[in-house]
């Protein structure tokens, strides 16, 4: 298995806040890798660095043997990296199918005309379960449907690496199971490698072969879901220090607020 993506000592700071500190990681072809961590850990920043929205201050990002840091988001998409956004960003005044067609026309799929991409895009909408809503405007869809649309749009670019940023947030248990099924199918049938940021632990535990835990921009743990779940460092990052009886839990909450502020 060849390494598809690797980050080597990647650092990104915003003013005085270092969101990602000397991060190194690698993702192999066909893997499903989870990235977890408390709020403000730098997870979304890592996605934005890979997708070219931010340029790293230091370090190298290599995709299929080529250095991609410094490239524009659209170039990176054409190379075969697609992503969804944590807060959905559909094109609200375009129909669902037109949203997907944009991905098909300009991504790695590079289909030459809107009319010839229609069939391909309808198939993708069927995969994510939005076919019935294909002619609805994106703004008329529910949040769960808009998340599916984001996924469909990313898929339409024909990616090799798919980065899903909290795809499951706010979905019901049944919807989460559906999404997990789709991700498994994508890997099995289309050989798509998946990186996902997720707070829904059930999803992470079920689907990821490997989980990377970030805290304050640093990787604090890596391993199988089972290993991660019992790692004391991870538990500390999420829960804070064990509170001694009599102490108020102020420390944890103020730290949480700080980290949330730095994320935004």
């Amino acid at each position: 298995m060849a390494g598809l993506l690797s980050l080597d000592g990647v650092t990104k700071s915003f003013g005085g806040v270092t969101a990602v500190k000397g991060l190194s990681l690698s993702v192999d072809e066909g893997e499903i890798v989870g990235i977890i961590g408390p709020n403000g850990a730098g997870k979304t920043t890592v996605f934005n660095l890979i997708a070219g929205i931010y340029k790293p201050n230091a370090g190298r990002i290599i995709f299929q043997g080529t250095l991609i840091n410094g490239k524009n988001p659209f170039q990176i998409c054409k190379l075969g990296i697609a992503r969804t956004f944590q807060t959905v960003r559909p094109f609200p005044k375009m129909t669902a199918i037109d949203n997907v067609i944009v991905g098909a026309l300009f991504g790695r799929a590079r289909i030459s005309s809107p009319s010839s991409s229609r069939e391909y895009c309808e198939k993708i909408l069927q995969v994510v379960g939005l076919y019935q809503k294909r002619d609805r405007l994106a703004r008329e869809l529910t949040l769960a449907e808009q998340r599916k649309l984001e996924l469909a749009r990313a898929l339409a670019t024909r990616p090799q690496l798919l980065m899903l940023d909290e795809l499951m947030a706010g979905l019901t248990s049944a919807e989460i199971s559906e999404e997990l099924e789709i991700i498994r199918m994508l890997r099995a049938e289309h050989k798509i490698t998946v990186m996902l940021i997720e707070h829904v632990m059930r999803a992470v535990m079920q689907i990821c072969e490997r989980v990377i835990v970030l805290d304050h921009g640093v990787r604090i743990a890596e391993g199988t879901p089972a290993q991660i779940a019992s790692d004391p460092l991870v538990i500390k990052a999420y829960m804070g220090e064990r509170i001694k009886t009599g102490n108020k839990p102020e420390e944890t909450t103020s730290a949480d607020q700080e980290s949330e502020a730095s994320e935004s």
Binding site: I53, F74, C77, F85, P90, K93, I101, V102, S113, A154
Partner: protein, 329 residues
């Protein structure tokens, strides 16, 4: 039920409107034949409508679809007029002169591409200043006063048909462009730049295409305007009317829609015509038009065309649900 399906499908909506517009253009083509021999005023009235409509088309492409807040449309418009005026003086006949005016605008748009590096609000301010800078440049390199040579003066009816051809090309050229790959990119960019670039859309490239095509169309409108008005001088660069009115038309009609600029320019021309005829003063049209803008901005911010379409959709769907209910009962 058929009616419901029909009205809900947005794909069909565009085709219905474009059929209506095509029909309108055909009516306009036979209109002078039906007209009594030399009723020149109504033909001239249409000629100025063609100018406004073409300008509104240009701005709708840049500002409505691609999200380029261009406040300096007059720079293209005036450049087209001056270049075509100069080339007519140099001995070129009318049609190539108009085309040359358009090409000058397209070339100028290419020169403006670096301004995309500015954030969108600074881009807007830059476009506002550009015509002021262009006036002395044009005076130095091209000239100050531009007169249509007597050989190139056309009859009212010829002028009408030239305008109709220009308008038809601008409407359906942009219509076809928006249904192509370029159109998808522009609509996506206009709605969300970050999301579009993440889907592989080269924002700089497609914004440039919008500016170049829009610049070409606006400059053609300017070239035609010179033919209509007979003479202009370089102070036209400072006339904000040609920058702002097309924007108002597009906003009133419906920004980023196919119908918007057509409807907006029509409303403007009617207001303009009626004030000039019944109040005999040219300032009243601005006043009345401002009132229309305020009403639209408060009551139907999306513009007339989208709201009207939504209304007809609601009415037809209510009708068809009633029909379904009565059938099942």
């Amino acid at each position: 039920m058929m009616a419901l399906n029909f009205s809900v499908l947005p794909g069909k909506r565009g085709t219905i409107s474009s059929t209506i517009v095509l029909f309108g253009l055909l009516c306009a083509a036979v209109f002078p034949l039906v007209l009594r021999q030399t009723n020149q005023t109504s033909l001239l009235l249409f000629s100025i409508y063609f100018v406004w409509l073409t300008l509104a088309q240009s701005w709708n492409l840049m500002g409505g679809y691609a999200g380029l807040l261009n406040l300096g449309l007059v720079s293209f418009f005036a450049l087209g007029a001056t270049v075509s005026g100069a080339s007519m003086h140099a001995g070129l006949s009318l049609a190539p002169s108009i085309l040359l005016g358009g090409l000058a605008g397209a070339l100028f748009a290419v020169a403006l591409i670096p301004t995309f590096r500015l954030r969108s609000d600074y881009f807007a301010i830059a476009t506002l200043v550009i015509p002021v800078l262009m006036k002395p440049l044009v005076e130095f390199f091209i000239g100050t006063d531009f007169l249509v040579p007597s050989a190139d003066i056309t009859s009212a009816i010829d002028q009408y048909y030239i305008g109709l051809v220009i308008t038809g090309f601008s409407i359906f050229g942009i219509y076809l462009l928006m249904r192509s790959k370029v159109g998808y990119a522009l609509k996506a960019i206009g709605e969300d730049e970050l999301a579009s670039s993440s889907l592989g859309v080269n924002i700089l490239l497609f914004k440039s295409i919008a500016l170049v095509v829009g610049g070409f169309v606006a400059s053609i409108a300017g070239s035609y305007f010179l033919e209509y008005i007979g003479s202009i001088n370089s102070t036209i660069f400072l006339n904000l009317t040609y920058s702002l009115f097309p924007i108002f038309m597009v906003i009133i009609g419906g920004i980023g829609t196919f119908e918007g600029p057509i409807l907006g320019a029509l409303i403007f021309s009617v207001v303009n015509y009626s004030t000039e005829n019944y109040f005999s003063g040219s300032t009243y049209d601005v006043l009345l038009f401002s009132v229309v803008i305020m009403i639209v901005a408060v009551l139907i911010p999306r513009g007339i065309a989208p709201s009207a379409l939504a209304l007809t959709k609601r009415i037809t769907s209510r009708h068809s649900t009633k029909a379904v209910i009565s059938q099942t009962a």
